[in-house]
């Protein structure tokens, strides 16, 4: 417990030091505020954005599409992962294409989606779905391949049906990997939405970044980045909470 107190104190002290450096170092070094705005510049800009730029609506829009894209992408990834995991044949047939798509930079599809669907929310949603899809798919597929054969034999000896084996053995066995995939995917979801908003559209924090960049308003860009990080952090923390709940049966490394 004392150890935990200590880490909190040191961690907060570090934060305070960074904030102080941020506030006082740039003016001391004569860095202009359109290059590096200070903490107080950013706070002032935050208030202005809140009052005049409809910041809250932008935040909500980005958060909504992050969550939506994450949900759809991970659902599709998990479902396909389980289906392929049950069929060695289709997994072999499809794996080179899955690999190719996984390697292709998903964000590069954004302009294409805009050409196809126009300047609306569809492109950013699709980029997010696409970017979230693969880590979940690959993690689930990997886990399905490594399910303990003896457990499956046990289930067979107990007369479980194919579906019973999936539902009672394979599915729970793969949950740890699924959760790991979801955690990776949650951080990628924010990237997907941001890229979608950067490339086209007039809402969301990604839009504010390109808008602020065009006006040489570095404080606006800073604020948008910070808020994007917060959205990603909230999603990630929620997943960690869920994971702790779901995987309570695993022995913990740190008492």
């Amino acid at each position: 417990m004392a150890q935990r107190h200590m880490t909190t104190i040191v961690s907060l002290t570090l934060l305070a030091l960074v904030l102080l450096a941020w506030e006082f170092l740039p003016p001391a070094l004569d860095v202009p505020r359109f290059i590096i705005p200070t903490l107080s510049d950013c706070l002032a800009e935050f208030q202005r954005m809140w009052a005049f730029e409809g910041l809250w609506a932008h935040v909500l829009s980005t958060a909504l599409y992050t969550a939506l894209g994450f949900a759809i992408g991970s659902l599709l990834g998990a479902v396909l992962g389980y289906l392929l995991g049950m069929s060695a044949f289709w997994e072999k047939v499809l794996s080179p294409y899955i690999l190719a798509l996984q390697i292709a930079p998903k964000v590069a599809f954004a302009p294409l989606f805009i050409m196809w669907f126009g300047y609306n929310s569809m492109p950013k949603l699709l980029v997010t779905v696409l970017i979230v899809f693969f880590p979940v798919l690959v993690n689930v597929l990997q886990a399905m391949r490594t399910v303990d054969r003896d457990l499956i034999n046990l289930a067979r000896a107990y007369n479980l049906s194919r579906f019973g084996i999936f539902w009672k053995i394979e599915m729970p066995s793969t949950v740890p990997n699924l959760m790991a995939g979801l955690r990776i995917a949650s951080t990628l979801a924010v990237i997907g939405v941001t890229v979608g908003e950067l490339v086209g559209g007039n809402t969301g924090l990604g839009f504010l970044i390109s808008y602020g960049g065009g006006q040489a308003n570095a404080a606006m860009v800073f604020n948008a980045i910070i808020l994007l990080t917060v959205i990603g952090f909230v999603l990630y923390s929620a997943l960690v909470r869920i994971e702790e709940r779901v995987l309570h049966y695993l022995p913990k490394a740190h008492g």
């Binding site: 003896d150 034999n153 067979r156 000896a157 695993l250």
Partner: protein, 256 residues
Amino acid sequence: MALEFRSVTKRFPTNSGEELTAVKDVNFRVEEGEFVSAVGPSGCGKSTILSMTAGLYQPTEGQVLVSDEPVTGPNTHVGFMLQKDLLLPWRNIISNIEFGLESRGVGKEARRERAMKELKHCHLEGFDQQYPYQLSGGMRQRAALARTLAIDPEIILLDEPFSALDAQTKLLLQNSFAKTIAEAGKTTLLITHDLAEAVLMSDRILVLSERPGTVIADIKVDLPHRDEPIKRRTLPEVADYAAQLFKLLKLEEKAA
């Protein structure tokens, strides 16, 4: 009669295209309520015998009969246990014990009742709500035995269930298994490489040859206290039986 192998041969295809004969012309019978062990060098097809009894795959030639019926697939007559306890880590102990009953149309309450009974049999009272990681290796194996007994099989197959345990736990567990199995009156086939274990726990010992495995000796263990290996251990004859097995296995090695 509970279990019978009639001239059973099992060949597996290998990657090189040739066939591997795991067991060849295996013949033996296990009477009802008997405790029989199979010993042999590694790779003698002990696990193949077990898998065929469990119905996980069929013999290439010959027949495996459980309660005078040929085994054609996984069936309700057989319960098996391996070196790994195979408890599902995401289930607590009681629902692990219930696992085998779920596919047999046993109602929820009846399942719980039966599982609780077996929990008691295996001396795990009070651990029903614990998860496998919270139990010691010996307790986990007892839970696995409870799960096996819960389905009330006619035959229990044990595939080296004690080999991953330390010497003391092993002895205590052998004793508790022997007692539980004797009380339940179950026919048992134990696969083991531990000769002393075979002598301490069995009514009869089948000695298998190297691959392709076949039965080279069928030894009756004429000693008391089958339900208490710890007591049987103190008998001087135990060493003679072990020596006899040792000789049999060694001779075969030289001949091969």
